[in-house]
């Protein structure tokens, strides 16, 4: 019996050894281990073995079976690997061939800049609000301390619909709407479209965007204005950005200032980009004029506040080094795709 098993084993292993394809290995498996296989036949003949010898023979049969299975499995694995390797060798591709593009669209540079500004101020607790683009003279001028005969009204080259209704020249008009709601404190930014009658050229557009900011609370100081806008500039233009505040004049703020930031190209050393000055003018700001507060029924003895206005296109042009404002409204896909 033992010899027979040895013989079966040796023959099986020989056949495994000789197999050069998975199908052949399968044949070996069927021939020896299958229901009608040789080893199964041996097991079936166990009834002829003396009962006392059965455990021993059984063990022998199992050992033989396990050995054949083990070798068989190893061979299968080896052969499968060889087949897979051969297949993969045929599947080599040129990885430098062009990508299959997903053709995702692109945001307008103005919007990218706007979302950046919104993110910064929302993080500082500001609410984003909107106001009408076609506006009453009162909100655009009078309530901002620019009465009927004020020269600033001419300076701003306003588009009028009629004597009372105009296209807003500044998002500052939204300040007034917010203040009139009477809910204090206020921390808001108001982005939006504004209009001035400038002919279209590389640096002018009759329609552009501003972002107005307004904070009104008890004990708001000019130092708070400086701190807030310095933080804004660092977030927008980079951690190393420095700011400079220069006195200026706006009818609706007092004191007023313009803010310059260090040129983000040369870091303030002076280059062609900043015309050698090292600084770039970025926004106008100031402490809300007490008369403006009074007109909106806020007591300037109790409340103070600051306001600022940023030109969105200015930021977009500077940040993305766009040299012609007309590109922003032409919507040439070759331009838009760069953002």
């Amino acid at each position: 019996m033992k010899e027979k098993l040895e013989q079966i084993k040796a023959e099986a292993l020989r056949q495994i050894e000789a197999s050069d394809a998975l199908e052949k290995l399968n044949e070996v498996k069927v021939n020896y281990l299958g229901k009608k296989g040789e080893l199964t036949a041996v097991l079936k003949s166990m009834k002829d073995v003396a009962p006392e010898d059965r455990p021993k023979v059984g063990q022998l049969v199992n050992e033989t079976r396990e050995e054949i299975e083990r070798v068989l499995e190893e061979s299968v694995k080896r052969m499968e690997k060889a087949v897979r390797d051969a297949k993969m060798k045929k599947e080599v591709i040129d990885v430098t061939l062009p990508a299959r593009k997903n053709n995702v669209g692109h945001r307008h540079p103005n919007t990218i800049a706007l979302e950046e500004v919104e993110r910064i101020f929302i993080g500082m607790g500001y609410e984003v609000v909107e106001g009408p683009e076609v506006e009453k003279d009162y909100y655009n001028f009078e309530a901002l301390n620019i009465p009927a005969d004020h020269p600033a009204k001419d300076e701003q080259d306003t588009f009028y619909i009629n004597g009372d209704i105009l296209l807003r020249t500044q998002t500052s008009s939204v300040q007034v709407h917010e203040m009139e709601k009477g809910s204090l404190p206020i921390r808001m930014i108001a982005p939006g479209r504004v209009f001035r009658s400038d002919e279209v050229d590389a640096t002018h557009s009759p329609s552009f965007h501003q972002i107005e900011g307004l904070v009104i609370d008890k004990n708001i100081t000019f130092a708070d204005l400086k701190g807030t806008l310095a933080e804004f500039a660092r977030e927008l233009f980079g951690e190393d950005t420095k700011v400079k505040f220069r006195p200026h004049h706006f009818p609706f703020t007092e004191p007023s200032a313009e803010m310059d930031v260090t040129c983000f190209k040369c870091g303030g050393k002076g280059c062609r980009f900043c015309k050698g000055e090292g600084w770039i003018e970025i926004l106008g700001c100031g402490m809300v004029h007490p008369h403006v507060l009074e007109m909106s029924n806020i007591d300037p003895e109790k409340y103070t506040g600051f306001a600022f206005g940023v030109g969105l296109e200015r930021i977009a042009l500077l940040k993305y080094e766009i040299d012609d404002m007309r590109l922003l409204y032409e919507n040439d896909i070759r331009f838009l795709k760069q953002f």
Partner: protein, 806 residues
Amino acid sequence: MNTALSWIKAYVPDLECTDQEYMDAMTLSGTKVEGYSRLDKNLEKIVVGQIDKIEKHPDADKLIVCQVNIGSEVIQIVTGAPNVKEGDKVPVVLDGGKVAGGHDGGPLPEDGITIKAGKLRGVPSNGMMCSIEELGSDRNMYPEAPELGIYIFKEDVEVGSDAIDALGLRDTVFEYEVTSNRVDCYSVIGIAREAAATFRKPFYPPKVEVKENNEKVEDYISVEVKDKELCPRYCARVCTNIKIAPSPKWMQRRLAASGIRPINNLVDITNYVMEEYGQPMHAFDLDTIAGHKIIVRRANDGDVFRTLDGQDRNLDSDVLMICDAEKEVGIAGIMGGENSMITDDVKTVLFEAATFNGANIRKSAKRIGLRTDASGKFEKGLDPYNAEAAINRACQLIEELGCGEVVSGIVDVHGDMKEKVVLPFEPERYNKLLGTDVSKEEMLDIFKMIEVDYDPETNNLTMPTFRQDLLRQCDIAEEVARFYGYDKIPTTLPNGEATTGKLPFKLRIEQKARDIAEYCGFSQGMCYSFESPKVFDKLLLSTDDPARQAIMISNPLGEDFSIMRTISLNGMLTSLATNYNRRNKDVRLYELGNIYLPKALPLEELPDERMQFTLGMYGDCDFFTMKGVIEEFFDSIGMRKKITYDPNSGKNFLHPGRQANIIYEGTTLGYLGEVHPEVCDNYDMKTKAYVAVLDMPQVVPFATFDRKYEGIAKYPAVSRDISMVVPKDILAGQIEAIIAQRGGKILEDYQLFDIYEGDQIKEGFKSVAYSITFRAKDRTLEEADVAAAMKKILNGLEGMGIELRK
């Protein structure tokens, strides 16, 4: 405003700083310097030389050989200039020196022109005698310079000395940008006062003392102001025995540096005082003033008046005129008349220094179409006190410069002069507003420099009259801040009540629209809000289309920008056409922008501003690509109910068979379709284009960011495919409506998988195939469940005249 630094230093003699330091410091204290230019730029090694001897050039008819004494030695210079003679003193640039430009007066080269010793037609020449153009200036600024040739010094200058200094070119001209509230800084004195305060140096304004003769001004002139509101103050003085001559060099140089051409002593003095005091003045030839009387009154509607530039001007009753006893002699604050113009024969001059209503001057100048230096100053609203100071200064200069005699006295007509503004001194308040800790003493120091008076008795501050911008405590705080230094104010963050930053729902939906459009390959465009009324015809809108009711801008940039858009398509189609004509392939654009719908015209209340989400594309795409974008967008904002499409959308600008309204829960939210080929033609696009417009105010109420998890199905689905022969005019939407209605609760989904028209199908029909999926949430479906549902569906379809294909 441009001014030479030397003129400022005349009043702030202790000022010592580099040009750059001056620019930076002035800008930081609020007098913004736009830039500066050195008058001696690229002028090197240029001295005063005297021509000892002139000889003919041996080999050239047009050249001469000069021996020029330059103090240390005599050098030989060859020149072609025709105007020099022996004994002349001239500017000479030495070997290795530099001049600013060529003798033709063309644009100045950035680095100047270097002059080297050399030979001219074989004769050595060791330098160059200079024309005024080569020195970077011109005859406008140096009227004594010859038209062609070398500048010759008329005055006594030392041979060998610095010629640039002698010409007054060792100077820097600064350009200031003065803010509209600082009327006082439109003057040299105003800027000098700011400079003195900025650098904390003493300020010495001109001392005005007028030497008068024995005559009385009242014997020469009387003044009547009929409209005191438009003319708060009118000062008149008279000068006699006028001798017209050139003004002195120092005055010419200062004017020239300010960009004003020197003319003669009388004109130069009025211009000089206008620059120095910021007060425009006018000089009349008194002999032309009828009745020796000045009347200030309004013009009559329809009057025509010839100004001294020879132009006839149309007047109206809002224009203020200066008149004599018989006629108009000048438009107040804007320009004098030809009839009273000063000529070289003038004997007696009447000076006017007045204050006019700024807004009136501004509007008059605009209506007349004549904006002058004078009107530009008057329109800012001048200080009435300044008028008297300026006229006295002019008379002082007349006398000092030997231009004439000053008649004693002044005719001064004015109403009540405005009271000076007085405010209590509240240092804590200023510090509280600024967030600073500036001492009381430092504040008082600042006030002293800017001539704000402090009275310790009353603790009151009195504003000087020239500072018309100082009205409230916040204005005082700004003065403290300016001279304390904006840069020294600390930086803090507001520490009040915490607030929540937020983006409103509407804007979040718009953000989602941008995201989805971009995922779908659309890039964001931006279009103008105003456009041409011609777009309605371009879009084939019918004459009674409500979209034609557009708001008109009363002062547009031109017809192309004259109406507020009522439809967003023109912008989109224009942008697509731009891309098409630039041969950009497969373009997809979207825009989020308002249209403006008037509630009534003419506009009485603000219009309805409606945000439109507009998509447009051409190239590799079709109607259904666009439909997919709309559905992705709706899905992303929680609008997951069935969207229906109604082909009867009636848009003239879309292909009649390829357009649909987009309907959600019974509300039309927008439309989509293929652009009508005629419209494409109108926009010069020889391609099919597709557009969709969603009216966002209609969309937003349906949107939600709420999400509820419904569980993933545990039981298997059963699918049935049906193939139908359908009358051509039945829409897929109608078939789907039947499936949806009759499929019952177990209906999970249905998908069109084939649609075919052609040979194998009989005329007037199409073949349509759907795959319908059923599933129950709580059990495995039995064949009977599905069969029942299918039967209902099929019955419904058959009821519409649809045949099932076996």
